[in-house]
């Protein structure tokens, strides 16, 4: 649970404001049974700092995640959005909704923060991506991040 209470419009403003990756050459490194890459991100006006993280399981190709955390000057970080692979079921605690093995997007919401639940406890199923690279492309686009070269997912013509 984050100590900072944000409204939905404040969350949307943080998600949508123009941002730039400061270390686009960050290397992927192996940590235990996954690989990870961490980017530093700063808003265009220089007022806000963020962390963009990329994770891929080394054991399960469908287990991946990319996310954006807001790093406020004081208080606890807030995970604004996280784009997950389909490796696990997810349940939305407030809505009582559960979905099985599908890609899904977590997003911080005012109602979860106000209820004292995890920032990004709410998630929605998505078909926008199927791979880690596709998830990264989608997140960079949604969060208005520049300075990082990402590619949209190739369409699957056999599907």
């Amino acid at each position: 649970m984050a100590a900072i209470l944000l409204t939905d419009s404040e969350i949307d403003a943080l998600l949508s404001m123009p941002k730039r990756v400061e270390n686009p050459g960050a290397k992927m490194r192996a940590v235990n049974k996954h690989v990870q890459r961490d980017y530093r991100v700063v808003s265009a006006d220089g007022k806000h700092e963020f962390a963009l993280f990329v994770r891929q399981s080394a054991m399960l190709s469908e287990s991946f995640s990319v996310g954006l955390r807001w790093l406020p000057k004081s208080g606890e970080d807030v995970t604004l959005a996280r784009f997950n692979g389909p490796s696990h079921p997810h349940s939305n605690a407030i809505e009582g909704q559960r979905f099985e093995f599908v890609c899904h997007i977590h997003q911080a919401t005012e109602r979860y923060l106000a209820a004292g639940k995890k920032d990004e406890g709410f998630a929605s199923p998505t078909q926008d991506y199927k791979t880690l690279n596709g998830a990264l492309y989608s997140l960079v686009k949604r969060c208005n991040i520049s300075g990082l070269s990402t590619q949209p997912e190739e369409p699957d013509f056999f599907e």
Binding site: H34, R55, M59, L60, R82, E120, G121
Partner: protein, 257 residues
């Protein structure tokens, strides 16, 4: 409802909440009510063991999940490292480079799954020992310690020293009345606060104020030596940590009585 009916209800609802799903390449995902605080289900997989029975494994998913918001290397250091190892030992949880597992006989699979879920929950709770939360606890403990020794009406938190230029930019954590001179006390949980306390003290000294000062560290050994030296030069009394309660009481009361 009698005890047999209650037993039957518990058994049937427990079974309804658990499912086993094939996820390819002979891997079985065990779907349970166990989930992280963000609503994502725990990674619980079954692998058949050549000797019979099963390996219940997270396939490395727990530490990957924790790595979204934490430096997982820190789970193996200091106090967190001690708790981490204690959890592995108490829960009989095996680890292979960040993959957690329990090997169990087929007829003990149910209890093994419960134990595995409990173990993952305990590992997840290590996140409560993060820096911001520990610092917050430090300030709460400092406030409580002060109130144990000095009447509340003599303690002024977030004090702005009157008659000092730009005083609002140089607030004092605590002004404590009662001594020959005002006592200005600072809590210092980290390097940044050590630097800030040094700047504030130097500003007040430059402004020609007469006061005593005390610095209480969360853990003085965590502060880099150069920052520590500068702060030592600026402050009168120092307490290495709140664990030094007798020293804290002695130094505090000497200044305010």
């Amino acid at each position: 409802m009698n005890i047999n009916e209650i037993r039957k209800t518990i058994c049937s609802t427990l079974c309804a909440d658990v499912d086993v799903v094939e996820r390819g390449e002979g891997l079985l995902f065990v779907s349970t009510p166990f989930s992280f605080s963000d609503g994502d289900a725990y990674s619980i997989y079954l692998k058949s063991l050549p000797t019979g029975g099963f390996r219940i494994t997270d396939m490395g998913g727990t530490l990957m999940h924790l790595s979204y918001e934490n430096d997982t290397d820190k789970f193996r250091e200091g106090m967190r490292g001690k708790v981490f190892n204690q959890i592995l030992s108490e829960m009989n949880l095996g680890e292979d480079d960040g993959e957690f597992y329990i090997d169990t006989a087929a007829d003990a699979l149910g209890s093994g799954l419960f134990r595995f879920g409990q173990a993952i929950t305990r590992l997840h709770d290590l996140t409560f020992l993060n820096r911001v939360r520990v610092e917050s606890t430090f300030y709460e403990d400092l406030r409580e310690n002060l109130r144990n020794h000095v009447d509340a009406e003599r303690i002024h938190e977030g004090y702005i020293v009157p008659g000092v230029a730009n005083a609002r930019d140089y607030p004092v954590d605590y002004f404590i009345e009662g001594g020959n001179m005002p006592l200005y006390l600072f809590g210092v949980p980290n390097r940044d606060k050590a630097r800030l306390a040094t700047i504030i003290l130097q500003h007040l000294i430059a402004a020609g104020r007469d006061f005593n000062s005390m610095v209480v560290f969360q853990n003085a050994s965590d502060v880099p030596s150069r920052d520590l030296s500068r702060l030592m030069n600026a402050a009168n009394d120092m307490i290495a940590s709140l664990d030094a309660s007798d020293d804290f009481e002695r130094k505090l009361l000497r200044r305010v009585k």
